[in-house]
């Protein structure tokens, strides 16, 4: 689910980052009020735990494995606000250390995985627990069911937002010829492409990962979960309010593209015959009516990648540099196995 660099337009990235700023501010403020002083460095533990959790290979059927994001789990252990900060830091390190998820797309990735995922997951978890009669009176099994449902919906909500972010790209950003500049898939493709694997596989991995670890901590060290920490610092009256407000905002953001969808291809109607239709018409993958898209599309200074006129000389020089550098790199890479052998002999 880590959105890489260049799939989202920089403008989208900027918008998503801007959307994260109040979320981060809110989370920091809440953590400051809620967490006792000695728990502050715990966020570091949470971030490290989140980072390592994403690296953990969760066993699936027949020797295959999958990765979980673990956003809901972090929220269950550290609280949703601390989770938001912790997962953000984990994502930052992933982007920088591994190039896993783009640096410009950091805001968007945080929006999906550090905001939507833990808050939605935790909100659903606590709603279910409340339904069963509140944290104290609920049976353990119900806590685990709540954790499973919460994490499953949480990751699917996050995937849905990622799909929407992808799907908006071809509508908003295209060149003069009408071809997509960034992610080429519109909502009719991106939503099923993201949602089906998440609903079927990733959601299950996430739920399993969340429940087994949450259950282990709850049985062996129950005083360490967020439910317990909250017990020490009694919830204030306005404690629960911000989450539904955020959820509402999130739903609104999600609903906007759904309106756009209605004009083009609708949910679930996307099928094989339709692709054929699109291809025979020779137009791009079910773009929405141009009127809507044109209003948004960027004014492109040089629509084509053909380099002409003034730039010709520069292009030659650059080609020469690229070619030479590539040759050097390739030769160096070829030399690795030989060098390795020599080094072993030398030692």
């Amino acid at each position: 689910m880590h959105i890489p660099e260049n799939y989202l337009a920089p403008a989208t990235c900027a918008v998503m980052t801007a959307a994260m700023v109040p979320v981060w501010a809110h989370a920091v403020k809440k953590v400051d009020v809620e967490l006792p002083k000695e728990k502050i460095p715990m966020i570091g533990v949470g971030a490290a735990f989140s980072f390592l959790g994403m690296m953990f290979n969760v066993p699936l059927v027949g020797g295959t494995t999958g990765h979980a994001v673990g956003g809901t789990l972090i929220a269950l252990l550290f609280g949703p606000d601390a989770a938001c900060i912790a997962v953000s830091i984990a994502l930052l390190l992933q982007a920088v250390i591994f190039g896993d998820g783009g640096i410009l797309a950091f805001g968007a990735n945080c929006f999906n995985m550090a905001f939507i995922l833990p808050y939605v997951g935790y909100w659903i978890y606590s709603a279910i627990v409340r339904m069963f009669g509140g944290p104290e009176r609920t049976k353990s099994a119900h806590h685990y069911i709540a954790a499973a449902v919460g994490s499953y919906i949480g990751i699917n909500a996050a995937a849905f937002f990622a799909a929407v972010e992808f799907g908006l790209q071809p509508m908003l950003f295209k060149d003069a010829a009408g071809n997509a500049l960034y992610c080429p898939y519109d909502l009719s493709v991106s939503i099923p492409a993201m949602m089906i694997p998440h609903l079927v596989v990733a959601g299950v991995v996430e739920a399993v990962f969340t429940v087994v670890i949450f259950a282990f901590v709850r049985t062996t060290a129950p005083d360490l979960t967020y439910d317990a920490i909250k017990g020490y610092a009694p919830a204030r009256a306005d404690n629960k309010k911000p989450i539904p407000v955020f959820a509402l905002v999130a739903v609104l953001i999600a609903a906007t593209p759904l309106g756009l969808l209605a004009t083009g291809t609708a949910w679930g109607e996307w099928g094989a015959d339709e692709i054929a239709d699109i291809v025979t018409n020779g137009s791009a993958l079910g773009y929405t009516p141009t009127g809507l898209a044109n209003g948004w599309s960027l004014n492109v200074p040089m629509p084509d990648y053909t380099v002409g006129g003034m730039g010709e000389v520069a292009a030659y020089i650059l080609s020469a540099i690229i070619g030479t550098a590539l040759l050097i790199i390739i030769f160096k890479l070829i030399s690795i196995p030989m060098k390795g052998r020599r080094e072993i002999h030398a030692s």
């Binding site: 282990f216 049985t219 062996t220 060290a221 072993i344």
Partner: protein, 218 residues
Amino acid sequence: MSFIELRDITFRYEGEESPVLSGFSMSAERGSCLIIEGDNGSGKTTLLRILSALSFPEKGSFVFDGCDITEKYMKVNMNSKLFHKRVGYLFQDPDIMLFNARVRDEIAFGPRQMGLGDEEVDKRVRDCMELFDIEKLSDKAPYHLSGGQKKRVAFASVMALNPEVLLLDEPYAGLDRKSREQLTAFLTELKRAGKTLLIASHDSEILSGIYDERLVMM
């Protein structure tokens, strides 16, 4: 050929210039007891890791019971499982060996893996708890225990697999006087039962009645 034999081993950790072991050889017969002594950083733990096939030397060979233990050999699932069943390894830090919710489950992990029946598993767990005097801890979470108790649980969980060879990394570290005596008595019995013992330890005096050979690492 000996039961366990290392020939001309060179080993270095990735990215390190100088090897921890170079041109190192040793051997141990079936049923013998070997003490491995040496200063901190002399390669005792590295040696045990090689003997438990967790690390592989860049040069030299490791033969166990007539079988060449190489990285390729251990890649085969069945080979590595049989090897680990026969060679038990007690880590220096018991904390990294405990990952189950209860002491009972911790000890039962190995026998369950072996596909033993519930009764047999129960019997092994009970025997091991008795052997290490940890019956009272049965339902506790392993990492809430004290250092010495953790060590006992970790050792019990290795013994439940009934390995033929035991690699013990500082088994006496962190034990009180009474536990040390119990451990020595236990090791003596294991040797009598024909197990092969390779012990990295600073306390060769306490083991003076047991060991056949002392290996000092430089």
